[in-house]
């Protein structure tokens, strides 16, 4: 079927038609398509290439160095990573980072959901809260880190990864979470919530039975943000974690001291954890959508 035979529905202009119309040519693709496709391919290669290199290099044997060519194949550097004193307390750092990320994620999800509800309409002073949030997001991490550190000194409390570091990380993950919540909630039709009120639901019932189930995929997305931003946070944790390192702090000290593929092995292990988290989150979003789709015919 050629383009001329297609019935043209008024008002329904597909993206493909516009892309086609921008420069109709014999091949159907303007030259810019090929140019930009090349740019895109190079971008993705540059994005993933280096990461894949260090994953490969982490599987060298004991002769392994920091650069190609690959010397042998073994799990030597993974064992080295978790058993050597030289590389520091990697296991403990892992443990703390994951626990810290779980605490931060939980608080981020709850607080940004509630704050998102508030921001759906204007209230007195909402701009102040908004700009406070933007400020907290863009403030240099180390500046806040020093501030929290000094504040803890002033009050006379020793900083710990599960107290001051949690707060310092929240000053970064929460604004992010609330901004993602904005995007999630902008797709929520208030009529659904009002229908619940009309049927006699209390405020809490409407939130629990209507708002949360509808926004569930978005809430999972906020959790994904919270976890990764915390798990990878460096500057704000630096002066607030106290005497025990989190994983990014451990990696930082390793980049300065360790010059063996152990560093790459650590990179491989933390990336695996990241990918597991991404898979769990995307999987649960997909599951929620699937259950929702299968429930529709029942009504």
């Amino acid at each position: 079927m050629t383009a001329t035979e297609q019935p043209i529905k008024p008002g329904a202009v597909s993206k493909a038609m516009v892309a086609h119309a921008i420069a109709p040519r014999a091949s159907g693709r303007p030259w810019t398509f090929y140019a930009l496709a090349t740019v895109f391919v190079f971008y993705v290669l540059a994005l993933y290439g280096p990461m894949i290199c260090i994953y490969i290099l982490s599987f060298q044997d004991v002769r392994g160095g920091l650069v190609f060519p690959m010397k042998g194949f073994s799990l030597h550097w993974f064992v080295d990573l978790f058993t050597q004193v030289r590389t520091g307390d990697v296991k403990g750092a892992f443990d703390r980072s994951v626990k810290l990320a779980v605490i931060v994620t939980t608080i981020t999800v709850v607080v940004s959901f509630v704050a998102g509800l508030a921001f759906r309409r204007r209230f007195r002073g909402d701009s102040i809260v908004f700009y406070l949030m933007i400020g907290s997001l863009v403030a240099p991490g180390l500046v806040l880190s020093i501030g929290v550190g000094l504040l803890m000194n002033l009050i006379g409390i020793e900083g710990r990864w599960y107290t001051s570091a949690v707060g310092a990380q929240l000053s970064w993950t929460l604004p992010f979470g609330v901004l993602v919540m904005f995007a999630v909630m902008s797709r929520f039709d208030r009529a659904w919530e009002e229908a619940a009120y009309d049927l006699g639901a209390t405020r809490w019932q409407a939130i629990r039975l209507v708002v949360i189930p509808i926004l569930a995929p978005g809430i999972v997305a906020v959790a994904l943000f919270g976890f990764t931003l915390s798990y990878d946070e460096f500057a704000r944790t630096l002066q607030t974690a106290g005497s025990l390192n989190t994983l990014p702090l451990e990696i930082w000290s390793m980049t300065l001291n360790v010059t063996s593929p152990s560093l790459y092995a650590l990179g491989t292990v933390t990336t695996i954890i990241s990918f597991v988290i991404i898979a769990v989150c995307l999987g649960s979003i997909a599951l929620i959508q699937k259950r929702r789709a299968s429930r529709v015919p029942a009504y």
Binding site: L36, S136, P140, G147, L154, G167, F182
Partner: protein, 287 residues
Amino acid sequence: MAAREGVFGWVYISPLMLVLVPFFVAPLLVVIAASFLQSDGFGGIIVNPTLQNYVDIFSSGLTFNLYLETVKFTILTWLFALIIGFWVAYFLVFHVRSPLLAIGLFLLCTVPFWTSNIIRMISWIPLLGKEGLINMSLIRLGIVHEPLEFLLFSSFSVVVAYVHQLTIFMIVPIFNAMARIDKRVVEAALDAGASRFEIMWLIVLPLSKNGIALGSIFVVSIVMGDFFVIKVMSGGGSASVVGALYEDVGVLQYPSAAASAVVLTIVVTMLITAILRTVDVRKELTR
């Protein structure tokens, strides 16, 4: 009713404020206060109001050089992230015909964002190093005879690492802005005889402006506040504002560190305000 809603607004917002006040507002105030005090030289602070910390900062030629260096990296990173981010987003929105494929390719770009930034930075070392993949390939191909020294531990590798990490912050908001452009507007422009350049200049670019501004805020604030990438990737060859600040902390000179922190925060705030003037970010985010 309006008053009641206002009260509910604050009830809902109070948990957020319970984090922002002690962990953003209070630390900032403490830093500002500390910047006007003296150090006892052993990590303690003597309550003795002085402007000496600021006099030191502004009378030192080093300060100017540090800012020059940091601003140089900020501008370079911003420029490359913008160019790459804009064209990648444009490609995904206007050139990929299947919406599902566009979303899939978009996700492909975002996955690395969820992995460790530090590891992604380190991963350039086996590529750019003196015996790295790029140098070895160039020598084998006979293009160069000596390994190129400028590839790693140089300004070049700093910019590469920044662009690698931060382009995603440009792609996401620009992609969002472009995806919202009504395709009928483009269609109408075509019907009216617009050239492709005119469509880009008069429709796509103005309607992507908010996304560009939002991305710029992220890129500028992150690069200005960074000392980690610059320290590792320049091999100690380049200094940054926050790097110098961290050295002050290392030798327990909290008041002078606090003073440079205040100056930096003012500079970053001015930059962000300048960007915010061009768009209504809140409208962009909440609509």
